[in-house]
């Protein structure tokens, strides 16, 4: 008797698009673009567009491979069970081929059209997200998001490298900023979808160490993140537009994070401060990087 899985009809093209996690890609593309525009040299518009396209395709490839590997986890979580693989709309093999093909294409195009430094960092970011975060850390340690956060921090570095062909202190600080922003951002989410992660057996911090330790960690990482966010101005790597904006935005972030850090969850808690912190953290990164670009392009 055969035990082969039933043949699925070919997936719709929209399912391939969904596999690339377009919403996550928005932030990745934006920070990559800002890293490029913050560089002290002007890049040819076509080459710049190609670099951003490669960053988007690379992020899409990483997202697709992540969903290929985590189809079982996604099926167990309400937030992700309507994705193409757990919902049975796509064959796993197709997702794997799509992810590998898209990733290889993005790196080759970046190397040929832009430069090898940007292509090398793009490769590192895809491999880091897929191998280090998805395959190695996510199911093994509650620190998964801390180390794995580095994958999402690469785009400003890639954007800068695309424009200049090298790396400097400012994009390294931007890398550090996104790296340190990721834990409070994700743990705020993890606090209000804790039951989902627990059901899937993912050792997220609130599941393993408890709510109190997670709240304390959000507070600690927010302080480190604030230092990284404020550093470019005193270090003369950015001007007053970035300096003033980062000061105001970071103070609001710190206030919201501290509120989350010191409170305890009541029964039937709507988790409003955690949801507010999660939403604000996304806006924060958009505005902060926007201010950096404004700073570079407005100030003489």
């Amino acid at each position: 008797m055969s035990t082969a899985a039933p043949l699925l009809p070919p997936a719709d093209w929209r399912d391939f698009l969904a596999l690339t996690k377009p919403r996550v890609m928005t932030l990745v593309v934006f920070t990559g673009l800002c890293g490029m525009l913050a560089a002290p040299v002007r890049i040819d518009p076509v080459i710049g567009f190609t670099a951003i396209l490669c960053i988007a395709l690379g992020a899409g490839a990483a997202g697709a491979l992540n969903q290929w590997y985590e189809a079982d986890l996604d099926a167990a979580m309400r937030r992700t069970q309507k994705r193409p693989l757990p919902d049975g709309r796509m064959d796993r093999q197709a997702a794997l081929h799509f992810g590998v093909g898209l990733g290889a294409f993005s790196v080759i195009l970046m190397g040929l059209a832009v430069n090898l430094t940007a292509a090398a960092i793009l490769t590192a970011s895809i491999l880091f997200y897929v191998l280090v975060y998805t395959v190695w850390l996510k199911r093994r340690t509650p620190q998964n998001i801390v180390i794995g956060g580095a994958a999402g921090a690469f785009p400003p570095l890639i954007g800068w490298a695309a424009a200049t062909g090298g790396v400097a202190w400012l994009p390294v600080l931007l890398f550090l900023l996104v790296f340190l922003w990721t834990p409070p951002h994700f743990w705020a989410l993890a606090l209000f979808v804790k039951t989902d992660y627990a059901a899937a057996g993912v050792p997220m911090l609130p599941v393993v160490a408890g709510e109190k330790a997670t709240r304390r960690s959000i507070g600690i990482y927010t302080v480190y993140m604030a230092l990284a966010a404020l550093a470019p101005w005193p270090l003369r790597l950015a001007g007053w537009i970035y300096g003033g904006t980062s000061l105001v935005l970071t103070m609001v972030f710190v206030a919201m994070a501290l509120k989350v850090a010191i409170r305890t969850q009541a029964p039937d808690d709507a988790m409003k401060p955690e949801k507010a912190l999660f939403s604000y953290s996304i806006l924060y990164l958009f505005l902060l990087f926007g201010a950096l670009v404004a700073d570079r392009w407005v100030l003489p």
Partner: protein, 42 residues
């Protein structure tokens, strides 16, 4: 029969998107080539 229709419509959709993407890629490679030639002239 219904399944055949579904398969055909998905194949049609994918072929259309693939065609558009390949067309866009040709234009992009052309634009990159022109930009590289211009950059080489400076």
């Amino acid at each position: 029969m219904k399944n055949d229709d579904l398969v055909r419509s998905r194949q049609r959709g994918r072929a259309m998107v693939m065609g558009l993407l390949l067309g866009a890629l040709v234009l992009l490679i052309f634009a990159i080539t022109i930009s590289k030639i211009k950059l080489g002239m400076h």
